[in-house]
Symmetry: C2
Subunit: 521 residues, 2 copies
């Protein structure tokens, strides 16, 4: 029996690709969920639909009106989020994991909508800064304005956060007035499809503002040019391939990438066993290893610990990992779900093997795990795995990413070495320093800032309210240099402005006022 | 006799590439000026020198201190600018042309230095915005900081403005603390070399902050990665090739391109013969065609004129072009110099042939020009050339750029068609609208903003102080979407910030204050 092909929403209608497609299996039971295929779908018509109807419909709305539409879409998801939770379990996500994805995504869209309603003008144009006087007589001035490009956004998302990953890109694009085609990752495309279905059924968005391609997109880049923008989250390899496309290199379509990185967390020299910071470090590491079974692009892959404390940390983390219960999401006592699929588990095992060859295993067996509430053989289950690499000059801990519940302990001595080791990651999305010593915090934060999109300083003072190492926030930039893709998302209304074209307009003060629709004084 | 190879300034010393190199000839006399070769030069050592000494020396200076160094460098150029004027003539530049390049460049560096001294903190870190409170109890907050990447800037410049083009990139990079390697275009590399020599001799900059490669740079991209940035001005083809390099696609080196574009100027329907705006339009077109013999990436390539006024404009422009005197810079009465070289003239003639085949010649003969003060056969002289294309749907006027004193008249009817034709350029650095009708100005400016980095509204009110269609200003962004390269330079302190890494720092308010070196309240 062939599986049902997952629908796409293109040019105002739901349709299904032809052919057998790629089969997607339940991460827990191995049962078939759906097939994914965009074969035969008319992507050129979809792009045309976005460019014409989608663009003009969004342009009829001012920034606050678009923000209201985004808020309505988020509210529709909120009202039906139980459906998304249920589906999330099929991807191996526990309730906690699904909350990060579903509630995190809805909350992110709500924050963007709120910021835009409060701070953006009731217009389709933003005047930036103040006018710059360019002559002594005051007859000639310049001003920067931001307008919506005459193009579309193609958003290519990762499998790990199908809802959050979609909404954090979609909300700013729509508020900026850019009609969007979403292309989810195949393994969790059915979650994105359901979220898009809820949004479309809600009628919150004007037709053409949001389309969905469930499946691969050969030829779609050929339709994109200098007014279009591509947002990508996923592997560095795919980012490199897409970024080399003529749409980007020749026609200057904007390209923003967010790729996985080997994020580090640094335990401060002051944080000895028994201090609050020692506990916070251990807790954070276990959390980051186990949420989404470690399938997070911001997870802590490298735990940097003062050399004399490596054994203490190894013991404390191992003790906590020992109480992690792996199994079917929702089953009694389960605290960590499955990887998204069996091939993902193969990849994690292979990467783990390279890491452990550079050092030694501290906790966990990649081939053995007690599974609760599911058949261990059928689902993509794996034990949390902690490695220790004492030879910090080896490349593996800084380059090999096991995209699962895997982390490496590394010893260091002094702020300077901690910074140097952090930099060995060649660019990360997130880093953290767990210390109550402000001098150490300052040295390390400033020392490693250039390699990071976000750095958390965690201590006893902020722990209760801290959002944690791995959590991007809509108010703060998300992205990072180098290996992390060199991009920037979120960051409050920066994310909206990043979708707009900046133009310097020059002329008499009266003309500048007329262009911006201001009263001519 | 082989020509002397132009020196490079690398790793603290002047050195010459080996081999015969590429011969550079005087644009006016055809005499050999120098040879350009970087063969055998140790570029890896140069990159290392920038990364180590250059970076740490610049990091010892705060933003205002770096700005003071840039100001000193600009002052050194100012004191010896006669030397640069003299050399400019060898590239075919008149005194007016050289002023745009030399004085424009020095002024640009001065403006960046002034803005930075006034507005940037006496620190090596910039705190952006206000802290964002992330918890109800006020114990957890976030703030964006900007720090200098741990890398270098490689700046690849175009031949047409060797001084301005270098300084508009160099000044913001140095103020941001990024050590820079400059790679000038071969045909005018001797001008860049002399400017760098003046700066180095002045001692204004710390050693390692500025290096110069006179010649090609095979293998240099292999040394660049995620902390480095590449600034490129030149052809779209070269931009596409460089942007596809693994340094950019795989290692996420930042890449900013500024490419030539088919900029338009639009005459408003109100601007009938006899109005100030009609005259301003004609004057601007002639100026943009003849300054630097039209070798300007912002020059007006497409003059959009109300259909019923095409003949009036053609006549008025032709009358002015008839009084242009082509010849040796400095020779009596000469108002337009030579193209940079004979192969450039071949390119211009070939492009002109394509344009004229799409319409008809209005003024000038590509193969015939009266030359004053020089041998017409030896120098790269060409007549100003005006074309008219009535079939505006043809692709040539919107796609074929003759990088010389060449422009095309195109008829239009109504703001909507003017906007649509402007958009046919697929992205431009600069556009202008010459009108005294604020409604037309608004419609056209907002309608074509998304395709432009800068738009000038020219009218009788601002004409006396207007800096003109083709002049980028350090206070306003320079760049443009699509064909113009998709980049952004200048724009005041945006240019400095664009060289820095933005990082969101999270923690308790006390830690954020400590990181930024603020008193802990």
């Amino acid at each position: 029996m062939t599986a049902d092909v997952l629908p796409s929403y293109l040019a105002g209608a739901w349709s299904r690709g032809s052919g057998a497609g790629t089969e997607v299996r339940d991460a827990v039971t191995g049962e078939t969920v759906c097939a994914v295929s965009a074969e035969g779908l008319d992507l050129e018509a979809a792009v045309g639909h976005a460019r014409s109807l989608g663009w003009s419909e969004l342009q009829k709305l001012t920034f606050p009106a678009r923000a209201a539409a985004v808020k309505s879409a988020a509210a529709a998801l909120q009202a039906r989020k139980g459906e998304l939770y249920e589906l999330s379990a099929r991807a191996g996500a526990t309730r906690r994991d699904a909350a990060v994805d579903v509630d995190g995504g809805i909350g992110t869209a709500m924050v963007f909508a709120s910021l835009a309603r409060k701070e953006l003008p009731d217009s389709v144009v933003i005047a930036e800064d103040e006018p710059v006087m360019l002559g002594r007589q005051g007859t000639f001035a310049g001003r920067h304005v931001l307008t919506t490009p005459r193009g579309i956004a193609l958003q290519i998302n990762a499998f790990n956060f199908p809802i959050w990953g979609m909404l954090e890109k979609l909300a700013p694009a729509l508020i900026a007035g850019v009609p969007t085609i979403v292309k989810p990752a195949t393994p969790t495309a059915y979650l994105a499809e359901h979220a898009v279905r809820i949004i479309i059924e809600s009628g919150a968005l004007p037709e053409g503002a949001l389309q969905l391609v469930s499946g691969s997109i050969p030829g779609l880049f050929d339709l994109l040019g200098g007014q279009d923008q591509i947002g990508f989250t996923g592997s560095a390899q795919t980012a490199a391939r897409l970024r080399a496309d003529a749409a980007v290199t020749r026609r200057s379509a904007r390209f923003n990438a967010e790729a996985d990185s080997l994020n580090c967390s640094i335990l401060g020299p002051d944080a000895t066993p028994g201090t609050a910071e020692f506990e916070l470090f251990v807790d954070a590491l276990v959390t980051e290893m186990t949420v989404k079974a470690g399938q997070k692009c911001t997870a802590i892959r490298r735990a940097l610990v003062p050399a004399d404390r490596l054994r203490d940390v190894a013991e404390a983390v191992s003790a906590k990992l020992a109480s992690v219960v792996v199994g079917a999401p929702g089953a009694d006592g389960v605290t960590m779900g499955a990887l998204v699929g069996l091939s993902q588990r193969d990849d994690v095992r292979a990467a783990y093997a390279r890491l452990v060859a550079a050092g030694s295993a501290v906790f966990g067996d990649p081939d053995k795990v007690d599974v609760h509430g599911a058949e261990a053989e059928l689902g993509a289950f794996i034990s949390p795995l902690l490695v220790r690499v004492d030879d910090v000059d080896r490349s593996e801990p800084h380059e090999v990413e096991a995209f699962g519940p895997v982390s490496t302990l590394l010893p260091y001595s002094g702020a300077e070495q901690a910074i140097a080791l952090a930099a060995r990651g060649e660019g990360s999305l997130a880093g953290s320093v767990v210390t109550h010593d402000p001098d150490f915090a300052r040295d390390v934060v400033l020392g490693m800032a250039a390699y990071h999109g976000r750095i958390l300083v965690l201590d006893r003072d902020s722990a209760a309210e801290s959002t944690g190492h791995g959590t991007p926030l809509p108010q703060l930039v998300h992205g990072g240099p180098g290996r992390a893709g060199g991009g920037e998302e979120e960051g409050g209304l920066r994310a909206v402005r990043a979708h707009l074209q900046r133009t310097a307009v020059q002329g008499s003060p009266a003309v500048l006022a007329a262009v911006l629709g201001l009263p001519q004084s």
